[in-house]
């Protein structure tokens, strides 16, 4: 039953799950050699993760090559369980998405009240003697063509600030979901051999990555080749770590992180989880404060 459901989902999404499709190309014998020659393996394997509680073991993910079309597994990277193995709070993810859509939204819907309508200064008919209801203005909200009371007034900003803990938990949940759903891939760096967009398309197609891919690195100035290649493709986008957000992660099906980006994300999120002055983050946005 579950298998059928997965098949249905994968058919509908137009892709297979990489656990079904991809095989480990490397033989175990020359695995270490290939990994060692291809890139410095200092960070792969055992990492010393701070703030471990001893209950959750570290999560693990493959580090894949990014300069070949075929997936070459370079090693396994330990991920912090608090960041990549958090409880998937989809309610907080929804709150984050709602907040990201609303805080920049300004409603321009507008209606005029009776004082803003033309005319209406004259009493339409005498108060008494006509057998009709008493009225003082044809622009009264009771009248057809009259003013609107309590209607939308432009501009209406919808800015609000989501509580800090919920913003952090939204990021943790989304990252954890991406990892659990096999939509998170780690690459050593963003160096690709050519600036041809076809190469990126081939990588995405061959590895059964989602149609849309979000590639995240630490620096906002990325290598030339990937910048030029992804510039021509609308659904493959680059983003620095400081721009990572829940909405973009959900907007793109696959999330590709560099190893440096993983370390930076972990470092920042663990800091936000354990900082001593988290209360200060909300102080600025408190309403009705003296």
């Amino acid at each position: 039953m579950i298998g059928q459901r997965l098949l249905f989902i994968s058919l509908r999404a137009g892709r297979k799950f990489s656990t079904e499709a991809a095989e480990i190309i490397e033989k175990s014998s020359d695995f270490a050699l290939r990994a060692a020659t291809r890139f410095p393996v200092a960070n792969v394997g055992k990492r010393t993760l701070p703030f471990l509680d001893g209950y959750d073991p570290p999560k693990q993910a493959w580090v894949e090559s990014f300069d070949t079309v075929e997936e070459v597994k370079l090693g396994i990277m330990d991920l912090h369980p608090a960041v990549f193995g958090a409880m998937p709070r989809i309610d907080l993810i929804r709150e984050n998405v709602k907040w990201q859509q609303l805080y920049r939204f300004v409603s321009y819907a507008h209606t005029r009240v009776r004082s803003e309508m033309p005319g209406g200064g004259r009493k339409p008919w005498p108060q008494k003697g006509m057998g009709r209801a008493r009225h003082g203005s044809i622009r009264s909200p009771l009248f057809k063509g009259g003013g609107i009371s309590h209607g939308p007034r432009s501009p209406t900003p919808h800015f609000y600030m989501l509580p800090f803990a919920q913003r952090v938990m939204g990021l943790l949940s989304t990252l954890s979901i991406k990892l659990a759903q096999d939509d998170l891939h780690i690459v050593p760096n963003l160096d690709i051999p050519t600036e041809d967009p076809e190469f990126l398309e081939d990588v995405v197609r061959t590895r059964n990555w989602g149609i849309s891919v979000l590639i995240v690195d630490v620096d906002d100035i990325m290598p030339r080749n990937i910048t030029v290649a992804s510039d021509a493709i609308n659904h493959i986008n680059l983003m620095p770590v400081y721009g990572l957000n829940v909405y973009s992660m959900l907007k793109h099906e696959t999330l590709v992180l560099t190893m440096a980006a993983v370390e930076k994300i972990e470092e920042r999120l663990l800091y936000q989880l354990h900082r001593s002055d988290a209360m200060c983050k909300e102080k600025k946005f408190k309403v009705n404060q003296v």
Binding site: Y55, R89, L273, S276
Partner: protein, 187 residues
Amino acid sequence: MNAPVLIDTNSIAMALKNFVRALQVSNYSLKGLISTRPATNFGFLPPFDPEAKPKVEFEVIKSPEVWKYVDRVLPPKLIPVPRPREEYHSDWRPPTADPKQLPYYIPRNKNLMTPVYLIIRKRGTQRITRIRHVKGDIFAMEADLRKYIKEQTGRELGMRVDEFCGHISIRGDFVYHVKNWLEEKGF
């Protein structure tokens, strides 16, 4: 072809005199007025003088040796973890439980306290004891906790388990018993 320029020396002298008087009255220094910075004088603030000497004389040094004393005074960015001691001077104890011993585990929160909270609602008439961050088999923990508090107080408890969020809520104020139980288990 220069036209003769008539200068009314008397009026110039008067203007200067008024100007100087204005300076004296408003207590502005001439330097502040003729500087190139925009003149934003709020009346209650003295004019900005970039060359004025600070009231407290100080010396700028760059030395890591000295900076460590400054660092000691600055508030810590992360919650500091106390070093292990033979004897603690308060009721606080570090967690001693083996995380793998029980089917459930309750880690300390970021302030290194057990995550037990009292929620007071409905104008103080509703009290809820909430345990957060429960990991593992939360229903096993609920059964154990229910048994313990039943033994301690003889009361049947209204408990609610939120497995998704890792919360256990107990109707009533049982913070004391829950904390004791957690301490007994070593969390």
